[in-house]
């Protein structure tokens, strides 16, 4: 049976997921009054600051009130508070569904643009170089070492790595980051303590990229350190579980070489759950990490999320980011659906449902 139809069905259902997520977002922001109050608070703060500024030059209290009233109307219009949420927010959602993420109200990109797409596209590479790279390294180490360990279950090295996995899992990323900064940046003075570039930063091109990579080293080491242990252990356990299944025993009994048994009969079967974790992890990594980005003064997606939600609340940015990450999840799921079929020969689609013979 063609893969296209079932995948199309999958795509449609995932698109439904996307719609539901956006619907729930609008409902949760709108019906609870959270969005209106959040924006109202922002306006209130600005007006309170403006009162103080006006007080320095304007001596007529009535004139101040009139000024504030006009400014309030302006700000209400700017933030869309002159329209109820059920008018304002669905429009926003319809626009993002047309792949137009629109304009942020308060946030701007490094270059000064207020287009949500520009802001996200500027931050995304920073996050990719940090979190996605770290995850990729973790995955490579995790899969290699995990598979290798599964053939040495119970050995001294297996036990040692099990202990390491427990420690690695328990380490908070922010704490590890600070520890590594103290050791590598301040004590050994081998790596920069934070930020994305040196001072003064290289002007452009490859030199600037190298400087960025140099600054990314310590945060990447941190992220790998706190995630690689559990990853190795998970891969090792999954592989070990498959290695003890009957079909592997049969393959070994047939006298097939170890490498072939490992590759064809163990890894291929163990691959889907490992790949699922990897792909979803990669997609999730694009969301950034507020803690690690804060510790290392890194301008990534995590900080952007924080700013959009709590720092300088921005409705359009929240909707844009939610759309983008849901879309990434949907795409990741679709890729996984294809990979399952390619990786595991036992997986077949029958009328849109995956079945194992």
């Amino acid at each position: 049976m063609s893969l296209l139809r079932p995948l199309l069905a999958r795509a449609l259902s995932l698109f439904g997921v996307l719609l539901v997520v956006l619907f729930l977002l609008v409902i949760s922001l709108g019906t609870t009054g959270f969005s209106d109050r959040m924006l109202g608070a922002l306006i209130g703060e600005e007006l309170r600051a403006l009162r103080t500024t006006l007080a320095e030059t304007v001596r007529d209290p009535e004139a101040i009130e009139e000024t504030l009233l006009v400014r309030r109307q302006e700000l209400n219009a700017l933030y869309g508070l002159d329209r109820p949420w059920y008018v304002r927010m669905p429009g926003m959602v319809l626009r993002v569904l047309r792949l137009d993420l629109g304009e942020a109200r308060t946030l701007r990109s490094f270059s000064g643009s207020n287009r949500v797409a520009d802001i996200i596209l500027e931050r995304l590479p920073n996050t990719i170089i940090l979190l996605t790279t770290a995850l990729a390294i973790t995955a490579v180490i995790g899969i290699t070492v995990g598979v290798w360990l599964s053939t040495r279950a119970g050995s001294a090295i297996d036990r040692a790595i099990s202990y390491f996995a427990a420690v690695s899992y328990a380490l908070p990323a922010w704490w590890t980051g600070i520890l590594l900064i103290l050791i590598f940046a301040f004590y050994l003075q081998l790596l920069p303590s934070g930020g994305m570039y040196s001072s003064p930063p290289p002007v452009g091109g490859f030199e600037r990229f190298l400087d960025l990579a140099w600054h990314a080293l310590l945060p990447i080491i941190t992220l790998v350190l706190v995630s690689v242990g559990p990853y190795i252990y998970v891969v090792r356990t999954m592989t070990l579980g498959v290695a003890q299944e009957d079909h592997v025993t049969v393959a070994r009994a047939k006298g097939l070489p170890d490498r072939m048994v490992e590759r064809r009969h163990i890894l291929r079967v163990a691959a889907p759950p490992i790949v699922t974790g990897l792909i979803l992890g990669l997609a999730g990594s694009l969301g950034g990490s507020i803690l690690v980005e804060t510790v290392f003064n890194w301008q990534g997606m995590g900080r952007l999320y924080y700013e959009a939600m709590l720092g300088t609340p921005d409705e359009a940015m929240i909707v844009g980011l939610t759309f983008m990450f849901t879309l990434l999840y949907v795409i990741a799921r679709l890729i996984l659906e294809i990979l399952y079929v390619l990786l595991d020969p036992r997986v077949r689609y029958d009328d849109g449902a995956a079945v194992r013979p």
Partner: protein, 791 residues
Amino acid sequence: MLRQFTRALVVLLLAGLVAAQEYSPPHEQPGPATERIFFRSFHVDRAPLDLRAGNMDLYLFGLRTDAALELEGAPGVQLYEAPATTLSLVLNPAPAPEGRLNPFSIPEVRQAMQYLVNREFIANDIFRGMALPMVTHVSPWDFDFLTVYDIDRGAGIRYDPELARELINEAMTAAGAELVEGSWHYGGEPIRLRFIVRVEDERREVGDLVRAELEQAGFNVAATYQAFAPAVLAVYASDPRAFEWHLYTEGWGRSAPQRYDVGTINAMNAPWLGNMPGWREVGFWQYEHAEQDELGQRLFRGEFGSVEERNEIYRRMTELGLDASVRIWLATVVNSFAAQDDLTGITRDVVAGPRSPWTLREAFVPGQDEITVGHLWVWTERTTWNPVGGFGDVYSIDIWRNLYDPPLWNHPFSGIPQPFRASFEVETAGPGGTLAVPGDAVLWDATTDRWQLVEPGTQAVSKVTLDYSRYIGANWHHGQAITMADVLYAIAQSFDLAYDPDKSRIEVALAVTARPYLETFRGFRIVDESRLEVYVDFWHFDPPYIASYASPTSLGMPWEVLAAMDHLVFEERRGAYSDTAAGRFNVPWISLVMSRDARLIERTLRQFRTQSTVPEGVFEVGGQALVSPEEAEARYSAALDWLERYGHLVISNGPYFLTRYDPPAQFAELQAFRDETYPYRPGDRFLGGPPELAISQVEAAEVVQGEAAEVRVSVVGPGTLGLRYLLFDPASGEVLETGEAAPGGGGEFVVSLNGELTAGLFPGLYHLFLAAYSDEAALVSERRVDLDVTF
């Protein structure tokens, strides 16, 4: 109280003495002391380590108390202290719905809170001596502390939880509440207080302390620990009657010294200014206080004939504030700014510390061409550099203030406006009279786009003659000479924004904000090529305040940049000055520091140059044209060359110019402006630390009942010194006597207590509070002396 006061004062004085070292300029070239400044972002938690590692020379963001104390005495590091933050608890006084009770709607319960908070613990233990207790909105470091001295010290407010609980018991019982098993109930239900506690700093511990005291007093407290945004959402964006909060730990930044405060007292006490519960938000319940509003507005409008009358209003408002107790003042916190030991030339503002325009002009590290200044951020998602609409964040302002010279600025020690690059003379007929405005004075007419002669018979309260001779003839950063045309364009632009029907419709926010101020200007008269007379309806008993009010432009940008922006915003409609106009018309909110926005202006500048455009009308005054097409063309070319070279259009006149601005790298580079025409050289702006103002010695003999007694006090400090005293009975909580000590010359004062007064004293200890002041410093030095009265 004396212990922590002494500790905090010693810290400040030592910091002052360190900063007040002799200053030896590193060279005699025009411009600033150092060649380059790098601004970099450092997270506040990591900043002490980065400083010790030599990654920066000065951290311009206040350190956390723990970090500051750790750095105290560390080799190679010096700390600059400034009382830059005040803390208060705001109570929600809204009445509860029928059948429920809000304890803080009862004034007596709010007053009891004054005794329930342990300010000394907050200052001594939570802030480890880096704070001073506060009773009123006036900090002990404010000059107006003297104005309310007897009210503050004589209020008898202290930590007395027993008394507080007694007062609460009385008031709550009278209101119909019952204490059931140690917990207050009303209508059979326990009374629950929602307490919003900020978590970013020591306010978390303050919140825990207050919570514990409230629970001891029988209240069921639900504390919510929140950061800025959710806390603001709960407190300032909700109707007080919705009771999403009952009390909240507020924090206030103090930015510059004020000799005569008008804004703070209104903001912290008078509801009309929108900073009391209800916040003047439409639809919310409002805390009202008619007398505070009336007095506050009188103070605001300058409706007083003398300093004494002003002080009386100020005192009454402070008394009413204490009586209402909607805000419970807790402490003034000393912020610490850390620097490398070898960084020289820091001028310390008495409130803002090194965060003032004075500091980086004179700062340098011997043998080094550059200094690195750390800050929390260099760029934020809100950053905008717009000379008309303003700046989007405080970090940008900290950079910008090194790039331009304002005409006037408040003195960092006295808080009084003073010449910075312009000088002034003031003539006034106020508060009752007026002066005739000369017939050749002009005002900008936004409808005809021309300077028009003022109406015959026009009168104004004051005249300020501003002398711009230190600007005129000197160069802007791009090499073009500053002329009176720059002054006139900036003034005309302000009037245009406010009164031009089309422009004011586009930039509504700017127009309505500027109008009430501009309406008080009666005329401008160009005296000569560098002097301008400004006629204005404004009076203050201290003339520099009139000059500050009447200064019509900050003169921060050359006219061609302003003209190009005006064209872009109002003719081409491809940009906006304000965020709201940008949103409304879906155009960029112009930020001159961003290459993208500067390129928008570039097109306009090129068009101007090609067409030899000279803005119409604005440079034609008194029958002569101030700018020729050739001069205009040279200006446009210079601005375009600047843009080509540096990628931005931040062109100004200060000691540094901006060479690089790199948002992703959180980096900005400033280069010294060594132009020969720049009028200042290293050393010209150095003021060091605030002058020492201290009570150095007190001689107090035993006081014998019924006999006259004298207390001799030595005060050291600058200018004309004074000493105020206050005799306080700690047993009764009453002020027995207050007055000015008699000066004996050379800083010596005598406090005389006559026999009649001492006859009324009982044997025991009395407190004699002493407050020394100077006309050259916007601060007060205080000491408490315990007098032993015997038979």
